[in-house]
Amino acid sequence: MATLKDVSQCVLDGDMDEVKVLVQQLIDDGTDPISIINDGLIAGMNIVAPLFKSGEMFVPEVMESADTMNEGMKIVKPLITDDDIPSKGKIIIGTVNGDLHDIGKNLTVMMMESRGYTVIDLGVDIKEEDFTAAIKKHNPDIVGMSSLLTTTMMKMDSTIKQLVKDGVRGKVKVIIGGAPITQEFADDIGADGYSEDASTAVELCDRMMIA
């Protein structure tokens, strides 16, 4: 008989075939779908996260776990309404105007989603006003910005100024990251937080959501 713990183990192991079997068994046995998500699938990713942070798991393995979680989610989601899908919060994220680098951003998106956040990935080369438009459209809790170049990092400053100008700054927390970025820079431009990499970005979001 399948258990929620078995589902978590499947996620940890990245076993996409087995997770589908187990999730379906649990559904057939009458297990609450929300519980399957929270205590099976996301619980598995919650084991993955510290293993990644400590270097025990590589990103490809984390991605396999995330993909496994998503395969399980595909089976459960039709059984619940959108409003009932557990979400720790909504985040929009993009690489700033003039910058095309996105590997770090993409890893951050993957980590955030696998830890239960709803993430809208705006992509790269996102103009200041497009961040505002996305905030108005999606009503996120957090806005994440990424940049890899010294000449595009200033776009984070101009984006925050744009959010102020457009009257949406107070509605969101702003977090930033990327190779040239520092905590000092984040403080200087009025960002709410800075993270060094994808895994600390998720921890930062967790703290932002509590604050």
């Binding site: 590589f58 990103v59 996105d102 993409n106 790269v124 010294t150 000449t151 990092m153 200033m154 776009k155």
Partner: protein
Amino acid sequence: MSIKFDKLAYSNLNDFVYGSSPKPITTKSGMVIGGGQIYPEINFTLPGMDVNDTTIKKATTIYSNIIDGVLKRASELYAPGVLVEFETLPDFTEHPKYGIEVNRILLNAMKEASEKHGLKTAIRTTPNDLREFSRPPIMRSGKYWDTMLELFTQVAKDGSDFISIESTGGKEVHDDALVKADIRKAIFALGVLGCNDMEFLWKHLIDIADANNCFGAGDSACGFANTAMVLAEKGFIPHVFAAVIRVTAVPRALVAFEQGAVGPSKDCAYEGPYIKAMTGCPIGMEGKSAAGAHLSPIGNIAAAVADTWSNESIQQVKLLSEMAPVVAMEQLIYDCRLMNAATDKGQQILFRDLLVDSDAALDVQAYVLRPDVVMRISAELVKTQDNFLRTKMAAKLTVQELKKAINEGKVKSDRRDMKWLDKMDKAIDTIPDDPNEFYEQMKSELDMEKFIPSEYGLK
């Protein structure tokens, strides 16, 4: 018509050394790159700032200050010559007038330094590959293609000695391959997409170079293999995967030389030693000297067979002693002075081997840059002229080389490395020899919203 490289450029491992190459290049100022001594190659960038019509004057002033500072220091330290790299920021390629203006500022400063101090200099101008600004990228036409060629053409006309690029053809697929440590996808991205694009791109760049008394110097798999190296350094992907990618990127880099590039290959092209072994052309490299830009596990070994020695890039910021580019210039000059002194005393092989031995056993990414490993793998790669097959072969041979080295205790490894090498070995064996057949296999795994097949000559 492509140049064929069907035999190694070296028959003796002890000829494979820094500063010297079978096909040296003489610059307009008389520097002979690969002619017996290694030259410093200085690269620099702006501090954090917006670049637009309002700020361009400030930006050009900064570049002017940088070049004056570094050339003054080079003269003070009696540098035998300096290769200056102007690696443009995207704004400077997107708006060619900016890039042209700065390139002219650098050329003028170099001319003054020659007249005032007798300092020999040459400049490598490296515009950005703007094509990735389109998502999915448009690789063979359009405003980004035209704009970047406009900059290449004018800087060559204005007197740049070398033109280079860090081209990105195939990167949109390779990025996915990296984060998933998917060697099949990486081989497709490098061996099919990358090689196809390099042939197209470098034919055009060589035409520009030839028409303007300029050299097409070479490209870099920076967005592929260096991204892998940085991800490995962060612990995101296995070091063995990054090491295999390093060598897998070699055939793609070779395409530039088949089209007529002559070197020195780009500083961040750590696949350079393989290029030098196969073509005999000089190479630029960077290692410990590039720590201001990024960290790496190959700080010393990177210099072992280099012909120019670079700092990758450094911002114009004040350190305790001086502005950072001036500091970088000094560090490069001293590194080169030491290596050249060893050569003058006939000790270049010993010095080379010290550079190699200090790093090679400590990381698999350093191990694959050992001159003997480079020669061994390169000797196999030149047996075919098919760059897709070379790419597949490069991956397979590197996996085998690393398995042997780890089993024999010749290189430090992670307890998980053999698992990843076995995984790659099996995956490589599933790849057919026919690139079209491979493409058909890969179609179901490719995100067709991210790349356009026809932009790579595929259907």
